[in-house]
Point group: C4
Chain length 307, copies 4
């Protein structure tokens, strides 16, 4: 068997059996410890968080800033806010909070307004804080918008099937977004873990592809590795493959023409995703008017072959 | 005839005759089905929509949010809005709507203003919603601005004409924007569809170009494929070409120096765009002061040659 | 003499003598005609305009929008604006204009405020127009900020000087910005125009460089073309070069690590910039504490050699 | 000894001993003089400044603009500001300043409001200046957010250790951010300064790496230079290396998949960072559930070997 132990960045030896290296969502099964806090990590976390969490965080932060200014205003004395008519402490707090919001958002109806030097100065600072805060929110929202986002759909299974007087390993991808991807480039490696002397040893084999680049990508792309005598899968039977602890590590690189960005997609298959002796169905058809209809959910579909 | 069946991503076999693969605007004749909704697709749609549609969508959305807050305010009771003097339900609704807009946009004249805890809280939330909404609008507008946009002009026709003791296929491009493009790279493939046994079979042939890169691009660029014995067009007569179902698939890649972005342009010609035995006219001239005047609309112009 | 007539994108033959191809500021001496108007060209023009022109355009546009809303408000009737006390048409116009500005900027003091359905609706639209306008201004300002901007300083002259048992052509560049440039790549071509049979014919020769890439760029970079027997300048004397109509066409590509952008710089020298038999002075020195002091203005300095 | 004097951009000869070329934070020990001021350098400085300095600069600038408008308003006459009740010059100035802030931030409570043509016009201009200023602040904040930022952690030391029947030079890196880096590329050069005839002469040697690219980077990456007979370190003893004035110049290039940006990291080691005859410890382990726990602070750890 041809062998090529080039490390892909995941390490070679471990003492225990490890989870798959790449999850189906493209993330790695590594938990990092010891990072030092940095303000840019906050930015990163806010960019990567789901929209709901992001909006809640923003809302809570804005309310917290207003609470702070409310407390400062109460310390200065609410007799310096025109229009406050509260008769008890709770109402005084609430009315001061409304004044704070009206200042912070610069809505400034005027029923509540500052008077006296200290309160006027605090109100001026608060309205500027408000505008800078919304500048930050604008930056965060655009940061979330402009982040590269490809969503490639991978066929549920990879097939091993007859191909040109031999066998091949195949899987398919499609672009599940409206954006236009161009100049795709596929990089597929096979990882096989061996259990020797109580240690788990990973071998990495780059798989040679029939075509590792494609110029346009309006339909699906079937990525084919011909299993010839240089392939690590050469002459293996279905049962032999299923008994191995293997993982297909896939990196697809492309150019998102809609946003002018280089994008990457990661995916992996394990031996559990193998279908032996099957052929993918064509997931698109030309209708009468000459249009091509492509149903991306059909990239998973295959026909079992009689052996 | 030299043959190279490399798939470009459009597929090889179809049962029906298909429309051209690339439209003159660079889009593909593929209708995708089965996409799952994702919030980022909304963003993409808003970025790609024409400006008029975009502005109408924004206006309608902003009005809808205001309507929602108006309804909430009416449920709370308009006696909590200072300055509402309505004598009937319609006027009450309208005055509450104006209050809502004055809060949402933070204009806050003060003739209309909230009072009471519930209304003051809703008004605070509405003014924050307003500012976040305009942060989103700012993000969308900048997203639209910053999207890469090249507009290459392609000559209306491609020519087949004598060239250096032989024949060549030629077409021309020019930059129809003010931006500066550099380091252009042309990738031209010829697709010829054969109708065999009731199936349509596509062959793709990469066309070798005399020059497939150009460093500067202040004028037009004439892209030339010499029809030698390795060309799929070798020894074909005009009538033979016109009888074929063919398409020139063009991808031009370049660097937009004004925005620092890699940009792509797609185009295609079909056999209907062929002009036989003609030569392009020079579309620029040097005037007396030494300036070069380039009329980009003349890149279409050619002279028929006597054969 | 070795010859290589590869067109760089400037064309080969002209009937009249043309100005230099690349100006010292990197622009081309080409005037384009026939462009069709497109909204994105407006964006481009606003991004490329000097700051003063940009700010005047923004100010004039904002005033024009306010004028429009002022006229609409006057048509509706200024009795619908609370607080207008004008006694003549000019004052009525001016007070309505102030109301318009207070609405458009959402400052909304409240001395002037809308009343009645029509005026309240127009005011709501105007305040939204105001916020969208400032969203556009924000987008334009960030577009101007984020545009790639390198400013390489080129030595005033190029030298032809002895170098390793032969002669070489040399010029120098330095980064005149605070940003960090990495991985620079130089592409130098020599253009020599010949006047034959009343036509001007341009020959382009790529110049082979001693080093066409450099990894780091904290100091200056001297770009050296060795004049060997494959060079178009081989065995030419000073007077022969000065009599030619030539231009050195320079494209420097690099990576701006501060902004994460690929950047380009264009420049050209003509025969008038030649200094014969001179050597560049070193423009930096190590001071006592081990720091290197680099005076970028000294990259122009050279010593004449005795011949 | 194999030699390769390719200049990396730092220059070759100096009269005095120079500090290290690259500091541990990636900056260069060069002080540039003679830069001409340009508005874009201000932008650059504001993008590169620490957050605290940035916020103070913004605050001071906004206050300065308000001071200017306050002075203009006082020149026009504060009798044109409704609501000013000041009895002395200081209070008049302060109340006018509050009016200015309420206008600039568009909070516009209305207790203070302009009257008369001149003051109303100035107030309109000030509120527009305010909005444009916050547009600039938004642009600056997003510019700071979107700047590429990688933070690679380098092992404190580089090791020279036995490796495959020979010796090797090794150091390690890890990603200390949450972002995903892909396709890393390492470029390592050794600089050795010789002191000859009162001049300091730098030799640069590119070091050949066992692996100079890595596809994924979830863990650490140990960069290995095998010291064979083509290495400039071949057959050197520990004491010989420690006596040299050398510096390992490192440039790591990668793709930040979270932001879609190409990023670079620079670092250098000097002879003081050498550890002789040691081996790095593995900084990650697989725990029982199959997860890999990677403690990035352990990339510094090594074991001394018995020689």
């Amino acid at each position: 068997m041809a062998e090529n132990k080039q490390d892909l960045g995941f390490g070679i030896d471990t003492k225990r059996k490890t989870k798959r290296l790449i999850n189906p969502d493209g993330s790695f099964n590594v938990k990092k410890k010891g990072n030092h806090f940095d303000i840019r990590d906050t930015y990163l976390a806010l960019i990567l968080a789901p929209w709901l969490n992001f909006l809640i965080f923003i809302l809570v932060s804005l309310i917290a800033i207003n609470m702070l200014f409310t407390c400062i205003s109460i310390l200065i004395g609410t007799e310096n806010i025109i229009g406050i008519t509260a008769e008890n402490h709770l109402n005084e707090f609430l009315e001061t909070l409304y004044f704070s919001f009206q200042t912070f958002t610069t809505v400034g109806y005027g029923q509540l307004a500052p008077t006296g030097n200290l309160m006027s100065t605090v109100a001026a600072l608060e309205s500027m804080t408000g505008l800078v805060s919304f500048a930050v929110v604008t930056g965060l929202i655009y940061g979330r918008f402009s982040r590269p986002s490809t969503r490639l759909l991978y066929s549920n299974n990879f097939l091993i099937a007859p191909y040109k007087e031999g066998m091949s390993l195949q899987f398919r991808i499609a672009n599940s977004r409206m954006s236009t991807l161009l100049e795709l480039d596929a990089n597929v490696n096979l990882q096989i873990t061996e259990h020797i002397n109580g240690k788990y040893h990973r071998n990495y084999y780059p798989l040679k592809l029939e075509l590792n680049k494609i110029t346009f990508f309006p339909l699906n792309w079937t990525i084919v590795h011909k299993i010839d005598d240089k392939s690590p899968l050469f002459n293996l039977k279905e049962s032999e493959i299923l008994n191995k602890d293997l993982e297909l590590l896939i990196l697809i690189k492309g150019f998102d023409d809609t946003f002018g960005q280089v994008v990457h997609s990661r995916y992996s298959y394990t031996e559990d995703d193998l279908v032996w002796n099957a052929k993918f169905k064509i997931p698109y058809e030309t209708i009468e008017n000459g249009d091509v209809i492509f149903n991306i959910n059909q990239i998973h579909d295959f026909d079992k072959l009689n052996s």
